[in-house]
């Protein structure tokens, strides 16, 4: 952390997006995380993505649970709505908020502890109901706030700072999301913004639950030589399978896509994600193939990244439950709460 505020120097505010806002307008307060934390880089990528998407900050709701990762919503979009929920329970709170107002952009920031240990049940059910949100797991393999114990995503054989070896197999959120029917499964790395920013943009615009697992090294407890979640290790075994380019709806897609190298996928709002495949035989719309590809590379210790799977046709929670299009607060009270007579009439149908 720093004692001073990041100075607002006029030069840094000279570039503006279509709303006339500078990048600095999408920032939050100063980070109190350790210097060099991957989470801060993800925060910067989120700021960049929302700024480039021209989304008004007050149209965004930031959701989080507990942990280093869950502190980060304080560091971006200070004008947005937000709830810092109970440990692991953010998906429920997000479901409730989304049910009440489906017209906001929801971004949840969680960690490997918050989502894969205490909140695993919450996480997979939000995924199952295809809640329309971007769900980022800032994954560093350790519990940083409690001084570096292994988390559920630590790899077998990875060593802690003091030398203990992790023996339990990891939960891979990407494989979990694939097998549980996730509609958008992606993985990236805090040290690769060129890949991360378009993925965040695609995840925000995806109609449904966008699971984005981001490897985010813990510089304090898990960036040593025998760690499999360090900057150096991640870079060494980095395996980008699919590059995703996000193209807003207003922009025409100019490039031609030959020999199956690239695959445009149109999102719900008319924008497009163009998937550029590194290996030709990979098909990011085939769940089974994505699973086996991931599994095969995981065995080799490689970290497969990119937009691994996308199914824009899956229906999200509101579509599944046939709810109204408006935010509940915009409904006339008489419709929102039709009164005891209406309740009795409803109940009489089940007598």
């Amino acid at each position: 952390m720093s004692f001073m505020q990041k100075p607002k120097v006029s030069h840094s505010q000279r570039l503006h997006n279509e709303l006339g806002l500078s990048l600095r307008d999408y920032e939050g307060s100063m980070s109190t995380l350790c210097a060099g934390c991957g989470h801060d880089s993800i925060t910067a990528a989120i700021i960049q993505a929302f700024w480039e998407l021209n989304i008004e900050p007050h149209k965004v709701a930031k959701m989080s649970g507990i942990g280093c990762s869950s502190k980060t919503p304080a560091y971006f979009l200070s004008q947005a709505h937000g709830i810092n929920a109970v440990h692991g329970r953010m998906p429920s709170i997000a479901t409730g908020a989304n049910a009440a107002d489906r017209n906001l952009y929801y971004i949840g920031v969680s960690g490997d502890g918050d989502s894969l240990s205490i909140g695993l049940g919450q996480f997979i059910h939000a995924l199952r109901r295809n809640l329309n949100m971007l769900y980022i797991i800032e994954n560093n393999g350790v519990y940083g706030l409690t001084k570096g114990q292994f988390s559920a995503s630590a790899d077998v054989g990875s060593k802690a700072k003091k030398g203990e070896v992790n023996l339990q197999p990891p939960i891979d959120p990407a494989i979990a999301a694939l097998t549980l029917g996730g509609s958008f499964v992606a993985r990236s790395f805090s040290g690769d913004k060129a890949q991360l920013v378009p993925l965040i943009k695609a995840g925000i615009m995806h109609n449904g639950f966008a699971m984005l697992d981001v490897l985010s090294p813990c510089v304090t407890f898990n960036d040593h030589e025998d760690s499999t979640k360090s900057y150096a290790h991640t870079r060494q075994f980095y395996h980008p399978a699919v590059h995703a380019d996000f193209i807003p709806s207003k922009q025409p897609i100019r490039a031609a896509y030959d020999n199956g190298d690239a695959m445009p996928v149109e999102l719900h709002d008319g924008s497009t994600v163009v998937l550029r495949k590194v290996s030709k035989d990979y098909n990011p719309t085939d769940r089974a193939q994505a699973y086996s590809y991931l599994h095969a590379h995981q065995k080799r210790g490689e970290i497969v990244t990119g937009l691994l799977y996308i199914d824009e046709a899956q229906r999200e929670m509101h579509e599944l439950s046939n709810t109204v299009g408006q935010a509940l607060r915009d409904l006339p009270y008489s419709e929102l709460c039709p009164g005891s007579a209406a309740l009795e009439e409803l109940q009489s149908q089940y007598c």
């Binding site: 952390m1 720093s2 004692f3 001073m4 505020q5 990041k6 100075p7 607002k8 120097v9 006029s10 030069h11 840094s12 570039l15 350790c34 210097a35 060099g36 934390c37 991957g38 801060d40 880089s41 925060t43 910067a44 805090s190 040290g191 913004k193 090294p217 510089v219 304090t220 960036d223 900057y231 150096a232 870079r235």
Partner: protein, 600 residues
């Protein structure tokens, strides 16, 4: 691009824009920090090391540092460097015991100086502590040269001038007043070991157009007139005055006229005012005193009626830029009435006292041929400096000439090669005090530039020597010092330590850092996080980084030296290090290089 060689002292020196722009390379950020700590005497002495006359320059310096100041690029107005210098000078207290000690045992070398202006005094200041004996010949009855005769007392009080000149004269200089040198040959015969000519550019340019000599009592040469005013020989002028020319001398002439009884003063510029050589602040102060600036008027004729000056006829000009060349054309003629006319159209060197056959080569403009590094003329042992060397410049240039001439004279008197001079050196020390603490005030202060208070328009004309600028109050100075960005606290990068976590890039408030694939400069400048458009400012490029082989690039243009990159760096690959430029002066030995504190 190749990795930047930061071991070259010039690299970090150039980052300190003000110090780089100052001819004498005064360590500006350091003395501003000393002022911030209330250490005025220390700030004064640090100034004095390089610019010798902090009190004088704190009022009337040409301030090449201020247009260069990084703060001007970051948020419009530069730090009021000059005014802060004055704060140090005004509050320094008694520093007499801290001035250089003069050895009683002399080294037997005697040096003559012609003219007791800033250049000669600087030479004496540098060489007296080394045991030299000095004789300074001055034609006026007071020392100071153009500082005394040409800068009006309402800008530079005589007392300030006298104090700082006395510091040097009191070192034991044999100052011979009222002794003009009329022959170089005679001077050479007096057996001095070396001679330094610092006699200025004392001849004001004339305007030889019809009517010039028909009423000489009311047509004045600017610098001569200012001299007469300074010594009290002239104490009145007509009601309506035309100043011909619009440089800094013109500003002094017009403002002096107002104090001698003129009511209607016009400055007549031949070209558009945007092209004037006058400093912005001097122009502003003249306008504040209701001097009218008339541009694009070229003098045609002095108009005489009944044997007395009645005014001047001008050609009204129009200028057009024709492929970089200025084309002019006369569009009209206009008459301006006047009781007195002052010519302030420049000044030039004059050496009628240097004989042509004594080995001092003069060029076609009758200016001596002087080596730009050694300040030596074509006759060994005779050195020039200040305006007399390369024509009119300013005080701070004259001081720098003096320093360089002093080095040369010292070498000359010891039979050393004049061109074998010490190079500038740079010392770097970390300012890290704790995890997020630095030994300088690193937070960015958004305050706007303080305005220096002036004596009211009602009061200031009552006497000719009422100093108009009052100098900063303590409160103003405290705000202004915090505006300094501490550019000498360098961002030093150790590539082998970088783990490419992006922390510095994310936190940088001006987006001046990028980690990217290397490329050639033009291409690289275009694809940085914020495009590096200012080509005057260099890019720092690191060696290839360990993990990906990319490079760290820093655009020096906008860095505010807040140190956040170093605060956020988990491996201390970035450090904030104070750079101190070692400026060689006369008598300095080649220093042992400081041991490297940190090996990467």
């Amino acid at each position: 691009m190749k990795p930047t060689d930061t071991s070259n002292p010039d690299y970090f020196h150039k980052v300190v824009d003000c110090q780089w722009a100052c001819p004498a390379h005064t360590n500006i950020p350091e003395y501003i920090r000393l002022i911030a700590q209330g250490r005025y005497a220390d700030a004064y002495l640090l100034n004095r090391e390089s610019n010798v006359f902090p009190g004088i320059l704190g009022r009337v310096c040409d301030r090449p540092c201020e247009p260069a100041c990084r703060r001007g690029r970051v948020d419009e107005k530069p730090v009021a460097i000059c005014r802060l210098k004055r704060v140090a000078a005004d509050n320094r207290g008694d520093i007499s015991k801290r001035l250089p000690q003069i050895p009683k045992q002399k080294n037997g070398k005697r040096i003559a100086c012609v003219g007791a202006g800033c250049a000669s005094l600087t030479v004496a200041n540098d060489l007296m502590p080394l045991g030299y004996e000095f004789v300074i010949f001055e034609k006026q009855h007071e020392p100071g040269g153009l500082m005394r005769t040409n800068i009006p007392a309402f800008r530079l009080p005589a007392q300030v001038l006298t104090e700082e000149i006395d510091m040097i004269v009191d070192m034991g200089v044999d100052l011979r007043l009222n002794q003009p040198i009329s022959s170089m040959r005679t001077l050479l015969q007096q057996g001095f070991d070396a001679i330094f000519v610092g006699s200025g550019a004392p001849r004001g340019k004339n305007l030889d157009i019809p009517g010039r000599y028909d009423d000489t009592a009311h047509v004045h040469i600017g610098i001569d007139w200012l001299e007469s005013v300074a010594f009290g020989h002239i104490n009145s002028i007509g009601k309506r005055v035309l100043i011909i020319g619009a440089g800094n001398t013109a500003m002094d002439c017009c403002r002096s006229s107002l104090r001698l009884g003129a009511h209607d003063v016009k400055v007549m510029a031949r070209k558009p005012l945007s092209m004037t050589k006058a400093s912005d602040w001097e122009l502003e102060e003249a306008v504040e005193e209701s001097v009218e600036m008339v541009e694009c008027h070229s003098p045609k004729e002095f108009v005489i009626k009944n044997g007395r000056i009645a005014g001047m006829l001008f050609e009204v000009m129009e200028y057009q830029d024709d492929h970089g060349k200025l084309k002019s054309r006369v569009v009209a003629e206009k008459f301006y009435p006047a009781d007195d006319i002052v010519l302030a159209i420049g000044q030039e060197n004059a050496f009628p006292w240097i004989e042509s056959d004594i080995g001092i080569e003069l060029d076609k403009w009758h200016v001596p041929v002087v080596d730009k590094t050694t300040m030596q003329s074509t006759r060994p042992g005779i050195f020039f400096g200040g305006d007399s060397a390369f024509g009119p410049k300013n005080i701070i240039w004259a001081v720098e000439h003096g320093h360089q001439a002093a080095i040369s004279i010292h070498k000359y008197c010891h039979g050393e090669d004049l061109t074998d001079r010490l190079a500038y050196a740079m010392n770097l020390t970390s300012t890290k005090m704790g995890i997020h603490e630095w030994s300088y005030s690193n937070s960015f202060d958004p305050s706007v530039r303080r305005l220096v208070p002036h004596v009211s328009l009602k009061e200031r004309f009552k006497k000719i020597n009422i100093e108009v600028e009052l100098g900063f109050s303590a409160e103003q100075a405290q705000v202004e010092v915090e505006r300094c960005l501490n550019c000498d606290i360098q961002t030093v990068f150790f590539a082998p330590l970088c783990i490419e976590c992006d922390a510095c890039i994310d936190i940088c408030p001006t987006a001046c850092l990028t980690i990217t694939a290397n490329g050639d400069e033009d291409e690289l400048r275009g694809r940085l996080k914020a495009p590096a458009e200012n080509r005057q400012q260099p890019l720092f490029v690191s060696a290839a980084l360990k993990q990906t082989g990319r490079v760290m690039v820093k655009d020096e243009d906008q860095c505010v030296h807040c140190g956040l990159c170093a605060e956020r760096c988990p491996t201390a690959a970035w450090d904030m290090q104070r750079s101190v430029l070692k400026i060689p002066y006369a008598g300095d030995q080649n220093p042992q290089p400081a041991p490297q504190r940190r090996t990467a």
